[in-house]
């Protein structure tokens, strides 16, 4: 199921650990990326076979960690932090602003599938708050205006 390049990465990962199961979480990340940002039952079974663990085990792991998604996110997944330090300097307001702009609540995707919002716990950019992650990129000290600008640009 993995594309050739990613399969090479998978094999390399498996060789870096004493037990195949140890590579489970990094391989799940690769599988999620291959499947457009989420994990289907088929992919979970495939990774379970690769790592030689029962499917129930993989399901338990996937539902434990917040980064594994069981339904597709938007093309641009906006992860807005509202934890303590960000909360102190406007993180909650930034989230509300984003929700209003896109007309969806956190945990949902826009109808055109372009944007999804996720409310985050501390993402480790506290001294540069408010901070967000868009897909894999950090954006720090984000004002509501900058958020608007970014969303409009991404829409293009």
């Amino acid at each position: 199921m993995f594309s050739k390049d990613i399969q090479t990465q998978v094999d390399k990962l498996l060789s870096r650990y004493p037990i195949r199961q140890n590579a489970l979480i990094p391989i799940l990340h690769l599988a999620q990326k291959e499947n457009e940002g989420w994990l289907s039952e088929d992919w979970m079974q495939h990774v379970a076979d690769i790592c030689e663990v029962p499917l129930t085990h993989v399901e338990g792991v996937v539902t434990f960690y917040t980064m594994f998604r069981l339904k597709p996110p938007g093309k641009y997944h906006l992860q807005v932090c509202t934890c303590v330090p960000c909360c102190l300097v406007g993180g909650t307001e930034l989230l509300e602003h984003t929700e209003k702009k896109l007309d969806i609540h956190a945990g949902h995707t826009t109808d055109d599938g372009v944007f999804s919002i996720e409310e985050m716990e501390c993402i480790g950019a506290c001294s540069f708050a408010p901070a967000i992650i868009v897909n894999e990129d950090y954006h720090e000290q984000v004002t509501p205006e900058e958020m608007d600008k970014m969303i409009d640009e991404l829409r293009q």
């Binding site: 979480i25 799940l28 434990f64 330090p85 102190l88 480790g124 506290c126 001294s127």
Partner: protein, 419 residues
């Protein structure tokens, strides 16, 4: 602005530094590792012990002592795992090291591997830290290309590998035994201790889990006269410089490298530039959200492990969150309880039920249904998580609740007092 004491940020504060292996070597990198390869592993551990360095992840446990606990002669391989799960709210310092000077940290990791006889070190990076992961992977590739990692680094004959491992979003995986479970490809459930990781850790083998910053100190400590220099940066038992993540309502939030004998007041007003918008200070959460909160009149204290412990709070991961007079303290506590409820792994009864219930009580206050009785209940429920849970997350959830209730009772009463 007040000056930093640059050890860890020595290269990072140099605007011309491009974090490449060549640049790192040029600034003196890997001299310590070469020296270490000429020492006996026990000698390395002894130096680290003498330096007095305490874990920079939050617990402040003496690192040299931790390494000396490693079980020997078990016939199993030993492992060193760097804890780069940095998820304690307020903390953003390890990422600075990983992003801007990965080689200093990696050299420290390699020194640690040699000290405990580990031939394959792992770095457990939280999954959200995409930029740090890329930075570390690039740095590790450089090391392999250079021969500093692989079968014979610096002609030592000590074959050494490093693998960068990603987490997937769980604060609890910063707890060392949960981290090991996660590294093994399982849910991040903290383990019953004993056995401790030094006896049975990664895949049942002796393991030491150390914070990124702690390891990044090793090149300095093992450098020329490093031990004495390191000890000179702070009072007895609190040696070295440390990275302070300053955030909240200050004019200049940021990560600062400071000695261990700097007054908290100075951190807020000198380094942080004082409270923004001309407001007054109301309180500080001194060491990550797990630490008991301090009121404005309590901040005249040296910012290190022991001085803060004497004041009934803790330095933890050196993440200082400053809040001003306009801050709604109850809302702040609500956000904190929400955090712990979200991050509890759910295994043990007090934390699973207590984190959620305490959040429900605080929310009740915000909804206008507070009372003296409920305030007592909040304090009781929070306190019941203290010392009864399987891991320290229960304590971490309990301390903010009890300290907020103790230090800011009138803020709660504002929500229900009609008089």
């Amino acid at each position: 602005m007040a000056e930093e004491t640059l050890v860890l940020f020595k290269n990072i504060r140099n605007p011309k530094y491009d974090k490449s292996l060549a640049a790192y070597k040029k600034s003196g990198g890997f001299k310590s590792l070469k020296k270490v390869f000429g020492m006996k592993p026990e000698e390395v551990v002894q130096e680290v012990k003498e330096s007095g360095i305490r874990g920079r992840g939050g617990a402040g446990f003496p690192t040299g002592l931790k390494w000396s606990f490693m079980a020997k002669g078990t016939g199993k391989p030993s492992y060193l795992v760097a804890n780069a799960d940095e998820s304690e709210p307020g903390t953003c310092k390890d990422r600075e090291l990983m992003l801007k000077d990965p080689h200093m940290f990696l050299e420290g990791l390699m020194i640690g591997c040699y000290a405990i006889g580990c031939h394959h070190g792992y770095v457990y990076v939280r999954g959200e830290y995409f930029p740090s992961i890329k930075s570390l992977n690039a740095a590790v590739d450089e090391l392999y290309a250079d021969g500093l990692l692989g079968p014979d680094p610096l002609g030592s004959g000590f074959n050494l590998d490093i693998t960068i491992h990603t987490g997937a979003g769980a604060y609890i995986c910063g707890e060392e035994s949960a981290l090991l479970d996660s590294l093994e490809g399982k849910r991040g459930h903290p383990r019953v201790k004993p056995p401790f990781p030094a006896v049975s850790g990664f895949n049942g083998c002796p393991t030491s889990v150390n914070n990124v910053e702690t390891l990044a100190c090793m090149p300095f400590i093992l450098g020329d006269n490093g031990v004495e220099a390191f000890k000179s940066f702070g009072p007895q038992n609190n040696s070295g410089t440390h990275l302070v993540s300053l955030s909240g309502h200050v004019n200049r939030p940021g990560v600062y490298e400071l000695r261990m004998d700097v007054n908290m007041k100075d951190i807020i007003y000198e380094y942080g530039g004082g409270i923004r918008n001309g407001k007054k200070l109301k309180g500080v959460i001194p060491g990550g959200s797990s630490s008991p909160v301090m009121t404005a009149d309590e901040v005249d204290v040296l910012y290190n492990f022991d001085d803060l412990a004497k004041k009934g709070t803790m330095m933890g991961s050196a993440a200082m969150m400053v809040f001003d007079e306009d801050t709604d303290v109850v809302k702040l506590l609500h956000r904190i309880t929400r955090f712990y409820a979200h991050e509890s792994c759910g295994q043990c009864t007090p934390c699973r039920e207590g984190t959620h219930w305490s959040r429900q009580i605080v929310r009740d206050f915000l909804n206008g249904n507070g009372s003296d009785e409920k305030l007592q209940r909040l304090n009781r429920v929070g306190g019941n998580m203290m010392g009864t849970t399987l891991c320290a997350l229960g304590d971490a959830a309990a301390m903010p609740i009890q300290s907020f209730v103790k230090k800011f009772p009138e803020e709660f009463r504002k929500y229900y007092a009609t008089v």
